[in-house]
């Protein structure tokens, strides 16, 4: 019988080899699924993984990868800091929504200004909005020891109601014929998060995501706060002896992840999404949790994971449109990819040994 044995040190080889192995396994399992559904599995796999990068329309789709990955990375990095410290913010979706509303509200309040200061102010407002929304579970946690998982999750639903109210009420486009939704930022240049370089899909949100990844990496490896975060997660008792204040850490981690989620929302609403609308949020806050873990809670890993997930979204859409696959098949395929990525990860820290006898 096979049994697992812990490696003395994590395997460098498998650290880098697991993602490609998982992708290959997914292609095989997914291929079988697609074949069962009566499509040509090779064509589907090529459409998902190859076409967005090198296919006929790659000139457009390559840019879309960053558009899709940007918010995921930005949110996931914030979450990863908390997860490392054992602080479970799973309400990033709500912080994303509130950040978007704050950012958009500031911009729309002074419509139609041409001041170039408005966009930076909106950025601050967006981050502030996310921070405020994350502070609710943080303060309830530190003051009343209330579980942050539950509170942050519940606040997602509250945020969604506020979003509906914003799009049908206080942020509704006065020239929108009574329809829900705010003004579109694409016709409000001073406040718009336009593409800086379209072929790469680069807007300020993408810049923020990549810069944040580097900063977070430095924070975690070089900075005292990063050390405290890691220590609190790995050895909470030892952390306390080292003078790490759990309350301060909760406020710091929740605040950071909230602010980053709020930023992501703000960049999305003023850029790719363009406006506040009832269905503005599309689950980035939840998907980012997966991205954070796929990236092994490491900022650079998260960047990679964000792009892999974005690829399956963009490529999956292509496969769905052009090959007539149901959208659900793509969801199943994404689920498989995540399963395999998570499963083969075991090889980094463990190896399989043929067990002789009972033990």
């Amino acid at each position: 019988m096979l049994r697992l044995e812990k490696r003395p040190t994590p395997s460098k080889f498998w650290l880098y080899a697991t993602p490609p192995v998982a992708v290959v396994l997914t292609m095989i399992a997914g291929g079988i699924l697609f074949a069962l559904m009566g499509t040509n599995p090779f064509e589907v796999i090529r459409t998902i993984f190859w076409d967005p990068l090198f296919g006929e329309f790659a000139f457009y789709l390559r840019g879309q990868l960053l558009v899709k990955a940007g918010p995921l990375i930005l949110i996931a990095i914030g979450l990863a800091l908390g997860f490392r410290a054992g602080i479970w913010n799973i309400g990033a979706e709500g912080q994303y929504i509130i950040g978007a509303i704050f950012g958009a509200a500031v911009g729309l309040a002074v419509f139609p200004t041409e001041s170039r200061w408005i966009f930076p102010v909106m950025i601050v407002a967006g981050a502030f909005g996310g921070w405020v929304w994350a502070m609710i579970p943080a303060i309830l946690k530190t003051r009343f020891n209330t579980n942050e998982i539950l509170v942050s999750l519940m606040l997602v639903y509250v945020a969604e109601t506020i979003l509906a109210k914003a799009s049908t009420g206080f942020l509704k486009n006065p020239e929108g014929m009574g329809f829900p939704g705010s003004r579109n930022f694409s016709s409000y240049p001073a406040a718009q998060n336009a593409f800086l370089y379209e072929p790469l899909g680069l807007h300020w949100g993408g810049v923020a995501a990549l810069v944040t990844a580097v900063l977070a990496y430095i924070l975690l490896t070089r900075h005292q706060a990063g050390f405290q975060i890691r220590l609190a997660g790995q050895a909470p008792r030892a952390a306390r002896f080292h003078g790490v204040s759990p309350a301060r850490l909760v406020v710091l981690c929740m605040g950071l992840s909230g602010a980053l989620a709020g930023l992501a929302g703000m960049f999305e609403v003023t850029g790719p999404a363009g406006q506040i609308s009832i269905d503005f949020n599309t689950g980035y806050g939840f998907t980012a949790i997966i991205v954070a873990f796929l990236g092994r809670l490491n900022p650079l890993g998260i960047v990679l994971a964000g792009f892999i997930l974005a690829l399956t979204y963009v490529g999956g859409e292509m496969a769905s449109t052009s090959l007539g696959l149901p959208d659900a098949a793509i969801q199943v395929f994404q689920g498989m990819l995540l399963f395999f990525l998570l499963a083969v990860d075991v090889l980094t820290n463990y190896r399989f040994r043929l067990a002789v006898g009972a033990h």
Binding site: F293, Q331, G335, L342, D345
Partner: protein, 309 residues
């Protein structure tokens, strides 16, 4: 008996008992899973697979009772993917659970093609009308289908099992300290695997209640987030079965009440009413957790175990 115009509290209570069943069943299952130290965030995925599985089995066999077991089996099967990944491959539980939801939603949508627009066999009232028509106690105590009673019975059974039996002791031991449990000779991962399958079965039944009794229909995405509420209620209840029941009824009650207040024309702005279930849940949680040192979470919650010896 009426207040706020047309709202009848007896009917309100009877209604909330039925509408809380899906989240109650799923949350009870998840409470056991978490007591054993495993955090499975895939409740939504298991519920919707159960909703489909239950619906298909009920329609094909013509028996809603067999349907509920079909839902339980479907939920348990899906949960075994989670169990394999986390207990054998030691994958991260949070990420695996979220992936499970994604996978479950996709599979249910694929598998449900061809089952739209069918009415499943009805799950009716269990007890005779003579009892159900009694004033006040009739609708509340006797007017329900069997699953409502089952969900309350399960609450009692799980409370007893976790508190007073050897099985419960082992589950709690595994959840509090897997190292110690292992040292005592318990197979930590095997016990957890069984708890996960049980949780899957309960979530599956909860889902089946939506598609067989509460809606009753099969449509894509029918659970519409009930699994997330179930997860929240487990934490809310500090992992205690009776509190799970209170939490589910409270949440179900506020949801039903806010809709009733709208119908009755209470004049309270609708958007505040629709936020109410979530805000009140937070408020109650704060009150309950204030002043207590620990929140009662199983100490090993979310951590994987690997026997090094």
């Amino acid at each position: 008996m009426d207040f706020f115009g047309g709202i009848n509290p007896v009917i309100l209570i009877a209604t909330l008992m039925a509408s809380a069943v899906p989240i109650l069943l799923a949350a009870l299952g998840e409470a056991v899973v978490e007591r054993s130290g495993v955090l499975n965030l895939g409740v939504e995925g298991m519920m919707i697979i159960g909703a489909l599985g239950g619906f298909v089995v009920a329609v094909e066999t013509g028996s809603p009772v067999i349907g509920f077991f079909g839902g339980a089996v479907a939920g348990a099967l899906l949960s075994l993917i989670f169990a394999t990944l986390t207990q054998v491959f030691l994958a991260n539980q949070v990420a695996t659970g979220l992936a499970l939801t994604l996978f479950g939603l996709g599979v249910s949508s694929l598998g449900g093609q061809g089952y739209n627009g069918i009415k499943p066999p009805a799950t009716g009232q269990l007890l005779p009308d003579a009892l159900a028509d009694l004033p006040v106690v009739g609708p509340i105590l006797f007017g329900h289908d069997w699953v409502v009673y089952f969900s309350i019975a399960m609450t009692a059974v799980l409370w007893w099992v976790l508190k007073s039996t050897r099985v419960g002791l082992i589950i709690r031991a595994v959840g509090e300290s897997h190292e110690a449990a292992h040292a005592l000779g318990y197979k930590v991962n095997r016990i957890r695997l069984m708890c996960i399958a049980f949780g899957g079965a309960m979530a599956g039944m909860g889902g089946a209640y939506i598609s067989l009794a509460r809606v009753p229909q099969w449509v894509d995405g029918i659970t519409a987030g009930a699994g997330w509420i179930a997860l929240a209620i487990v934490v809310f209840a500090s992992w205690k079965p009776w509190r799970v029941l209170i939490g589910a009824y409270l949440f179900g009650g506020i949801t039903v009440l806010q809709l009733n207040l709208q119908v009755a024309g209470s004049g309270i702005p609708v958007e505040y009413l629709s936020m109410a279930p979530y805000l009140i849940t937070i408020l109650v949680l704060v009150i309950m957790s204030a002043g207590r040192k620990a929140n009662g979470a199983p100490a090993a919650l979310g951590q994987n175990f690997h026997a090094s010896r």
